[in-house]
Symmetry: C2
Subunit: 666 residues, 2 copies
């Protein structure tokens, strides 16, 4: 079944072989050229109405009619011969007889054959008998002019807009609203556009369940087909979603054949790797020709490309799309979009690119083109790109991404501050309206993000802990940092740390929320945990926050006070970056307890043992505190509705929200 | 009927009163606030499928489920306890019993409760009895590892992507393909989105005929409703197009009432000015409240805004849209788009802006915000914005526009070279791929534009005549100029002029086409015109080309040779800028003859009297001739298909196309 020796002789030991991206694209195009599928698939003639919007012209539009198709008046006024006004002046007016020498015309009316100019109605005196002002300004007996007109004044000559036979729009143009007007004006009632490619989307995998069905452990909600279908649709294709096919080679082959027979492109989702249930490559080999198995891109390298022989003759290309959601979506962007563009006859999507500086050191596999998702914001005069999760399974990294940085093959990484080009997913205007919050995580930041979005601001928050936030402010990489750093000496929050980490930066320290920290334990508290003393008990597995997190400092402070040796706490070295991640670790059974806020416990239905109250404040460089960018934040902190929504989270108090605690350095 | 004294007491003398744009927008918003129509009109719950694309979230999406919702293997391999691999090394491997200590898992499979790490299948030796390699790598008896694993290696912990209760997407977000995936992953099957506003579009005007009906003199093809409907659709609304209503006040009132009763917004097209058949303002006054009549924007100032009282109670806003197509489309952009954005709860469109230099002096009415359409291209290192026709009737000026320059109120004009901000309609990538051709007009440039568009290049041509083209090259404002300048002394084309006008610029002169110039006359040549001698005959009205045009130089050369005094030619002072415009002048009866190319005569079904053959050449600064930007031009000039298409135009020869005539200065 497996004819290509390159993939190995034994089914179980086949492994894909990555080739560079341009080579993979080239192989596909070449194969499509060989079977005559490299350009527009077909032409449709459709009526000229608003449904033509977004369609791509398959042929140029040449004007059939001129527009205007006659000499038209450009004003409401009187058509006349310019020669008849010769010599008119304020002191020596000319009087013309209406009917013989002048005729009233509305804007757009055709000029009488004998006329060659229009005088606007407001520039004449309309006269009746005895030269008294006319009762009806449009139908006087005479008009008096006090200015001479050059010929063709206030006339739209025939063809002013469009001359018959002119090119109105070239083939390959994607129709916009105004284009439809110009096409109509040039005498067309229909447009000839490229036929939208039909794309079959075949999700496969025994572990998949459709959206809307209850999920149990091990089930994976099948949403790649949704994302791929929406991508196809947004790129001008028609998506045909097939039901989930289980991991059964014969069933998969049958479905692929059926899909290939009825569409222009098959996207076979998952099974494209080389695992035990990865049947895609074998299916392509059985039903046609395997062109590529493995492309040197991350994420998404186990891409398959091939051609399926149609039952009715001819070929249908197939792309084996990797299963991880980020890989699947990027495979769409990298391979499917350009192919649809080719078949539609339009230009491929060209994302806007901007220059930015990467905020932290990143590494990259040297053999691959590495598609790194980043958030982008402008802090001061620098445009910054902060890398998001690199995991191929983290679809929120694509949702949150403002753009992609491609680390090309041969590049093993970048130092912090290195210049990069970002392919933007958002408009530069949105980037300008982005507030970068780097620091301690708090659930109220989600509420703030939601509230700010109604004020044309986007809050992008990176969770690096309170100290990390101060460091980010020092580096000029954030507009604000949430912090709740307890000073063991003074019992004060944040100020001593700001003095130490930001000695030279004028900052405004603003009260945000008071919140209760405590231990998150399983529902019913089966291990009967009551306080930090219990963490050293045998069989109690702790999940910690990362070094530099305010919660971690709080823990260490109290452990020291209580004389507890952290080395004796099982799991002290296991670190998570957010309260919710700690809660998730407990909820999943990976740990028995962790320190965090009450709201996180409630979110995942855990029990909560309250231990300490603390002050969570916003550290804002004063230049940003006073900026227009942050104006909506200042407004929201005083907004009763917003405060109520924060107060609604368990364990939070807002009575001092917005109060300026200190201006530093004093 | 007309209650507002500001519009004048007598129906015929009412005239609109322009107010500044921000004031007009403010009046509308305030009125909408008073009647409770200032924000999202309603919420719909729709299933999570690809039709949700482009819809706007009416509420934030909070995660219901975590993703993954269990600890999942991130690789195909064996789940195990990390502790069991402690001390493993290449020389001291560890062997684990499959079943008890290790279990095969595919990517995405849940980890057994007792496991806390996964070793990829390719990193183990699968063993059977007597430690021989296992026949089935997934089901061996034992596995041998030569490396210790930290806990949670190759595991996607529960909540890695999404933790239940987290904010997935804020309200007001426009859904993209990946968003649908994240919403599905977070446990939703439906989304709550804003209801699309319904917009009624009412074309009015006795002179209008629908697209597709034969037009006679005075008829205007009604396509504004098509453009407005397409705009509404592209901005997320639903358009309801009404049939054309004639200029009858009662009928218009009836239709407006009907439209207001069934939609959220009425666009009443035309009749918004103050002419004799401009009923819109009066209709609004009768049926509700007139808020604004006249906004200080050009084109498009006679805008009307008001509220119509619904029969069933409540109010529907109405916008009276001016009739000129450019005015109508810009009214859509300026007033309708922001209103729809508000009703959908999304951000208004924010066009990308770039800096450019205006190519020529422009004037502007000081009292208005003036929306000037421009084409944009990059010539050398300068981004240039060349103004297009300012006529409100010229829809092709919007179709061809790469963007808009707003000359704000108070600005009376700009000098050539002044910096401007352009609101782009195209991507900056397209701007980079724009070839600016300024110079003599030739019909073959349309064919070239069409052919170049298939090579990812956009040809933008401005017709300023051959000499104007050389001047543009000298100013660095074009990549190439078409020229056919006959030197009376030498009989040579172009070279003497290039030496004079571009003494210091290295240029490559390339043969383009040979073409026949002659007199364009009415079908049947009723005045029996045979040559230039006939132009001085009484009753023969000539239409000329502008000074500096090659055709004009040709004419003057031959007139002088023949001893004909131009002052004796009627219409010698009437100038047009293109061959087709000359042809249109003859076809319409505005003139009896003009000098031009044969193809222009044929295009408008005129007779043609061939007089001279001439050489039309391309003058290209050598730095551009050799550039990547112009590479497709060099290819096309040698392309048989392209040459054939040019040869197909009457009166053209292409045998020397692409030949380099000279490199200057020599």
């Amino acid at each position: 079944m497996c004819h290509n020796p390159e993939w190995g002789g034994k089914t179980m030991s086949v492994y894909l072989h990555d080739i560079p991206l341009p080579e993979a694209q080239q192989r596909l195009i070449q194969a499509l050229e060989e079977v005559g599928l490299e350009s527009v698939l077909g032409v449709e003639e459709i009526p000229l109405d608003e449904r033509a919007l977004g369609r791509v012209l398959a042929e140029p539009v040449w004007a059939r009619l001129s527009s205007p198709h006659y000499h038209a008046s450009a004003m409401d006024g009187f058509a006349l011969r310019a020669e008849a006004t010769a010599g008119a002046s304020p002191t020596r007016p000319v009087i013309l007889q209406v009917g013989e020498q002048a005729v009233y015309v509305d804007t757009g009316d055709p000029l009488p054959d004998w006329a060659n100019a229009v005088v606007p109605i407001e520039n004449v005196e309309a006269l009746d008998e005895q030269d008294i002002p006319a009762a009806d300004a449009r139908h006087p007996l005479k008009i008096r002019l006090r200015e001479a007109l050059p010929p063709w004044t206030h006339v739209r000559p025939m063809g002013e807009d469009i001359v018959a036979t002119e090119l109105v729009l070239p083939a390959g143009h994607t129709l916009r609203a105004v284009d439809l007007g110009a096409i109509a004006a040039s005498g067309h009632t229909h447009v000839r556009v490229s036929r939208p490619p039909r794309v079959a989307i075949l999700p496969t995998g025994t572990e998949l369940v459709p959206v809307g069905q209850p999920v149990k452990r091990g089930d994976i909600i099948e949403y790649n087909s949704l994302v791929l279908a929406a991508q196809v649709r947004s790129w001008g294709g028609e998506a045909v979603r097939f039901p989930i096919t289980p991991d059964d080679f014969e069933q998969i082959c049958q479905r692929v054949q059926q899909a290939a027979d009825m569409t222009d492109l098959v996207l076979l989702n998952a099974g494209s790797s080389a695992g035990s249930e990865d049947f895609s490559a074998r299916a392509v080999e059985r039903l046609g020709t395997l062109l590529v198995h493995g492309v040197a891109v991350r994420p998404g390298h186990p891409v398959i490309m091939g051609l399926i022989r149609r039952s009715q003759g001819g070929w249908t290309p197939i792309i084996g799309v990797p299963g991880y959601p980020v890989s699947a979506a990027l495979t769409g962007e990298i391979f499917v979009e350009p192919l649809l563009a080719r078949w539609l006859g339009r230009r491929p999507a060209e994302p806007l690119e901007i220059e930015a500086q990467i905020t932290r050191k990143v590494t990259s596999p040297a053999g691959d083109d590495d598609y790194m998702r980043v958030v982008v914001g402008k802090v001061g005069n620098r445009v910054l790109a902060a890398p998001l999760s690199r995991g191929a399974g983290v679809i929120t990294s694509l949702v949150r991404a403002d753009g992609i940085v491609i680390l090309p093959r041969g590049v093993q990484g970048l130092e912090a501050g290195a210049p990069v080009r970002v392919r933007l997913y958002r408009s530069p205007a949105e980037v300008e309206q982005t507030i970068f919050a780097i620091g301690s995580h708090d659930l109220t930041l989600d509420l703030l993000a939601q509230a700010l979005s109604a004020h044309q601001r986007r809050l992008v928050s990176a969770n690096v802990g309170s100290l990390g936030g101060l460091v980010a402010l020092r580096r000029g990489e954030a507009h604000l940092a949430g912090a709740h750093l307890l000073d063991p000496q003074t019992g004060e929050f944040n100020i001593p740390y700001i003095r130490q980490y930001l000695p030279d930066t004028p900052v405004t320290l603003v009260e945000w929320v008071g919140r209760i920290q405590g231990l998150l334990v399983c529902k019913g508290n089966p291990l009967n945990i009551r306080g930090l003393e219990d963490l050293v008990r045998a069989g109690v597995r702790f999940i910690n926050r990362q070094r530099g997190a305010g919660t971690r400092i709080l823990l260490d402070y109290h452990l020291e006070r209580l004389g507890i040796d952290p080395a004796k706490i099982q799991g002290y070295d296991q670190e998570e970056y957010t309260h919710l991640a700690v809660a998730a670790a407990v909820a999943s059974g990976r740990a028995d307890c962790g320190l965090g806020v009450m709201a996180a416990a409630q979110a995942l239905d855990l029990d909560f043992i309250p231990l300490f109250t603390e002050r969570y404040q916003l550290v804002i460089p004063t230049v940003y505190y006073e900026s227009d960018l942050l104006a909506p934040l200042r407004v929201l902190m005083q907004d009763e509705n917003f405060r109520r929504s924060v107060q609604g989270l368990p364990g939070y108090t807002v009575e001092n929200m917005g109060q300026v605690v200190a201006q530093l350095p004093q």
